[in-house]
């Protein structure tokens, strides 16, 4: 390549040599004008450009602006839109999480912390599912990794706060076994006893608990 000169002709010749260069198109040469022709063709090009912009000016239907807070009612995010990690709860208020921690290992940024505990029978149950949005890149790895489809990404995007610590979310609404384990218990009262309610928590992660990322604050 180095032997090709920098002049236009040499490059053109070289390009032509490459077997008519199948699969290449060359940039068009400059149109040359005299003084008068140059003035007129220049003016013409300017007028053409002005026609384009005037076309948009005269057609208000081409306006693409969406008035955001006003259009909340009609604003729908795509179903796959990833912005808020959520743990769906079914009509009985049960989630699918078994506190296995696969999502926690799958997360590249350590933004998930699964706090597990033992129930009366000694089985592993979910105590608290902490998701730190401030450290999350919404890469969807946790959702993909989850073998029980216990978590999913949803489209709520209005989560701006003034304090970074408020971006820690607790996703589960109760501490206790997952839906599949609970469904084996027929008695609803018995079942409710196993579901220790925990408030939807958002704030400093846990009393006495360090945040998942050291020095993250």
């Amino acid at each position: 390549m180095n032997e090709i000169g920098s002049t236009e002709q040499a490059v053109r010749k070289e390009e032509a040599r490459r077997a008519g260069a199948p699969g290449t198109v060359l940039s068009p040469a400059e149109k040359r004008h005299g003084f008068i022709g140059g003035v007129f063709s220049g003016l013409l090009s300017l007028v053409q450009g002005m026609a384009v912009t005037l076309g948009y000016f005269l057609r208000p239907s081409t306006v693409v602006t969406r008035q955001y807070p006003e259009n909340r009612a009609t604003l729908k995010m795509y179903e796959r839109f990833r912005s808020l990690l959520t743990m769906p709860h079914d009509q009985d208020g049960c989630h699918n999480c078994t506190a296995c921690g696969i999502c926690q290992t799958a997360c590249p940024n350590a933004s998930i912390k699964v706090v597990s505990g033992k129930d009366a029978a000694g089985k592993k149950i979910l105590k608290n599912y902490i998701w730190r949005m401030d450290a999350c890149t919404f890469c969807n790895a946790c959702v993909q990794a989850c073998p029980f489809s216990a978590i999913t990404m949803t489209g709520g995007f209005e989560s701006a706060v003034y304090d970074r610590r408020l971006l820690s979310y607790s996703l589960n609404r109760y501490a206790g076994p997952s839906a599949s384990a609970l469904k084996k218990i027929a008695d609803p009262a018995e079942r409710r006893k196993m579901m220790e309610p925990c408030l939807a928590y958002s704030g400093q992660v846990l009393p006495g608990e360090t945040p998942p990322i050291a020095g993250g604050e």
Partner: protein
């Protein structure tokens, strides 16, 4: 003075005439007239600022498939008021080691030059503050004074970008002043007077843009292009050149002082449009065609002030249209455009104009 139809036009009695007239009898009345003039100009500047900035934002938005300001008031009509308040409240930063006095003065110098031109423009037959008999000369002389503000701003800011912007502006405005003047001279030749009100009256049979076999049109185009260059708007905004010089001469300005530069830019635009309208589009003169009296009298039904506002508004729209369509020129291309293209064409055009005047060659020649 009578127009083509033969009806007597209103006698132009300007505020300046009234002041001089009142001076011997009652100095207080004269002072009152002066105050009235000052208030009128002040109100005009403020009003222009509010209207033009809003118009610019809305027009730009619709050129770009946007809506523009929509929040403050109906369709954002009070946006400019809100912005002015914000700018008033902002900190006025003066860079360290800047030339303080000049830095503070520059925005006012810039505004002053444009405001002074407002005084001589005939807005309608009865609405003119001072009808100077060398009006055209006054416009070009005082208008060219605006460069001082820009130069001082760039120099005093102690910033290399500002300095570059100011130097660019200096070279640009002084160059384009020549084309402006040559195009002005064409009209002066046609009208045979330097007085702006007389130039308007000389267009009673038809505007100079179409009455002189294309000579007027060429002069109009040159004048428009050179005026846009003189007021530093795209495609000639190299003095600000946002993507090159970050803000050019007003890089270091903030708060109210920046607002003054902003305001003077918009008043400048109005002045350029108004002067162009006065010289080439008949100012407040309705659209007349020679001796078609019936047509002319229909046109006369629209008040002159509306004609003036319409023409000026249209030209302002065109200038904005330029800005929201064209890219910026490079500094050497700008010079080339002036010295190698506009100036030769202007000179040839001026020669053609003198021939046309000599042999009374335009449409509906004067008797």
């Amino acid at each position: 003075m009578t127009n083509a139809i033969g009806t007597t036009l209103w006698q132009v009695k300007t505020l300046a005439d009234r002041t001089t007239g009142a001076m011997p009898d009652s100095p207080w009345l004269a002072i009152g007239y002066i105050l009235l003039g000052v208030v009128a100009v002040g109100a005009l500047v403020a009003g222009l600022g509010l209207v033009l900035i809003y118009a610019e934002r809305k027009i730009a938005a619709h050129f770009q498939c946007r809506l523009g300001p929509m929040r403050v008031g109906w369709h954002g009509i009070f946006q400019t008021v809100a912005d002015t308040l914000k700018l008033l409240l902002k900190e006025d930063v003066i860079p360290e080691r800047a030339d303080k006095l000049l830095h503070l003065m520059a925005p006012f110098l810039s505004l002053l030059a444009t405001v002074m031109v407002l005084v001589v423009i005939p807005y309608s037959p009865v609405l003119q503050i001072a009808d100077v008999n060398i009006g055209v000369l006054y416009v070009s002389a005082v208008g060219g004074f605006g460069i001082l503000g820009i130069l001082v701003a760039g120099w005093s800011s102690n910033n290399k970008w500002s300095m570059l912007g100011a130097m660019r502006a200096g070279a640009q405005i002084i160059s384009y002043e020549i084309s402006v003047t040559i195009a002005l001279l064409t009209v002066v030749l046609f009208a045979g007077t330097l007085q702006l009100s007389q130039i308007v009256l000389s267009q009673a049979e038809g505007w100079w843009i179409w009455r002189a076999h294309g000579i007027g049109l060429v002069a109009f185009l040159i004048f428009l292009i050179a005026s846009v260059a003189e007021i530093n708007r795209t495609p000639f905004d190299i003095a600000e050149g946002e993507s090159e010089l970050t803000g050019g001469f007003h890089t270091e300005y903030s708060g109210m002082r920046f607002a003054f530069f902003f305001l003077s830019e918009f008043v400048n635009m109005f002045v350029a449009a108004a002067v162009t309208a006065t010289l080439f589009l008949g100012g407040w003169m309705p659209f007349h065609i020679g001796s078609f009296q019936a047509f002319n009298s229909i046109m006369d039904l629209i008040p002159p002030a509306i004609w003036f506002a319409g023409k000026t508004g249209f030209l302002i729209f065109v200038i904005m249209w330029f800005r929201w369509t064209f890219p910026r020129m490079r500094v050497d291309q700008l010079m080339k455009l002036e010295w190698k293209i506009l100036l030769p064409i202007g000179l040839v055009n001026l020669a053609a104009a003198s021939i046309a005047v000599l042999f009374n060659l335009y449409f509906f020649p004067r008797h």
